[in-house]
Symmetry: C7
Subunit: 93 residues, 7 copies
């Protein structure tokens, strides 16, 4: 089963808090609204009014995103986020 | 009897909550504002100011949409949603 | 006597509530903000800043519109609505 | 003495309430925010950012406008309204 | 000493209330937010994002403007208004 | 040490209140939100979305600006303002 | 480990308050919302709707930015800021 996001939206699989803390980047206490996730599906890269921005992230990318953006959904019992590309802050390389 | 939505609007037939729970994707408790529906009619794919975005969804598609968007109507005693295409998050494949 | 709406506006003659209930489509209890009307006059299809969107509805069309949009006026003692085309949700075929 | 409105503005001479009641169109009790007036001067038909929309109304037209729009002024002791063309709902023919 | 307004701004010298009352146009009691002034300096007619709208008013024009717009300044002890051209309602001819 | 403002921003050195009072232009009591300053650095004249508006002010110009706009910073113990060009009302000639 | 910001975003390494006070520029008490940082990564210079503004700052630049903008993150235990280029006020030369 697969989700195909519309427009410039992206489906993200957020990393567990614990996992993140053992990693390298994590949100500061004062800025706990950003988070880390893995990209699992990308849209066609067009904005709502038809401008072709292109997708700057690809499936498998590890990204930093704004926690207060997007919509949470559950796929096969796992929490995912559907978010607009512009709410992804950066790709972690 | 048929509805022909204007502009980039779509008519959706929401899935029953029960039916959804037996399915694969369902909104999490903390994000109950997204939902699943079947597309039953699509507009001409133009935005309100005349830009041709095209319709990215087709009749029969199963989609994930934002519950707080759109307008509820009743067709032949069944609840439907009229929504703008940009408020559909993803197609479920 | 006739009204000629400016821009992409439309003059609607709303159906009586009773009449609607005997028909096929009616707003649900939880979404009583949409309504059904007959189109009686249409504008020139241009938006306020001069873009030519065209009129997607014609005189005589039966349409579903958002009750909270538009302005009520009385023509020959009958309540009418002047509304922008973008606030018409769908044509009923 | 004459007013030359700037941009897409129009100067209106509102009809007396009494006069209107004896006429054919009048606002309903629940929608008393629209009104009837005579056009006495028109602008050059350009929007604030220079788009040429053209004037859709002419001097002498009888129009329906939104009462809450525009600015009231007094010319030779008579109340007038300066309003943007987009706030005129329709021409009465 | 002279002010050269930026963009589509205009410098106005408001008429005294008394002087206005003896004149022909004056704001009504219920709409005392419009006023009359003399244009003393004009900008280059471009909007903030570089569109060339042109100046529709010239030095010396008597204009009707919206009192709640613009910024008051004092030049040689006399109150002036710096206002955007779009907040001038009409030229008085 | 020098600041190079980004986009259409300008760095201003505000005049002392006292100095201003002895000058020719000063804000009125009722409109104390405008102020006078000297331009000390200018940006490249492009807006945030890349439109080339050009810089209408130059280093050394004496300008009138809106006090509530911009950000105060201290350079070598002297208060300066970083402001967008569109918040400068006029050049004083 | 490296962050690659999306669109016109920039990753900043803010200077310590103490370090800043010994420097040349620092925010005034009344305007403590601006700050100084070093640029450590830049995006591709396109805005969210695909306009190519270009990056006006480069890695290593010392910049003045608006403290209330952007999102704080922690990289290798050091606080960083992810910010849009338009929220950088000026480059310090």
């Amino acid at each position: 089963m697969k989700l195909k996001p519309l427009f410039d939206r992206v489906v993200l699989l957020p990393e567990e808090e614990k996992e993140t803390k053992g990693g390298i980047i994590l949100p500061t206490a004062t800025a706990e609204k950003s988070q880390i996730a893995r990209v699992v599906a990308v849209g066609n890269g067009k904005t709502f009014d038809g401008k072709d921005v292109g997708m700057l992230v690809s499936e498998g990318d590890r990204v930093l995103f704004n926690k207060y953006s997007g919509t949470e959904i559950t796929i096969d019992d796992v929490k995912h986020i559907v978010i607009r590309q512009a709410d992804i802050l950066a790709v972690i390389e």
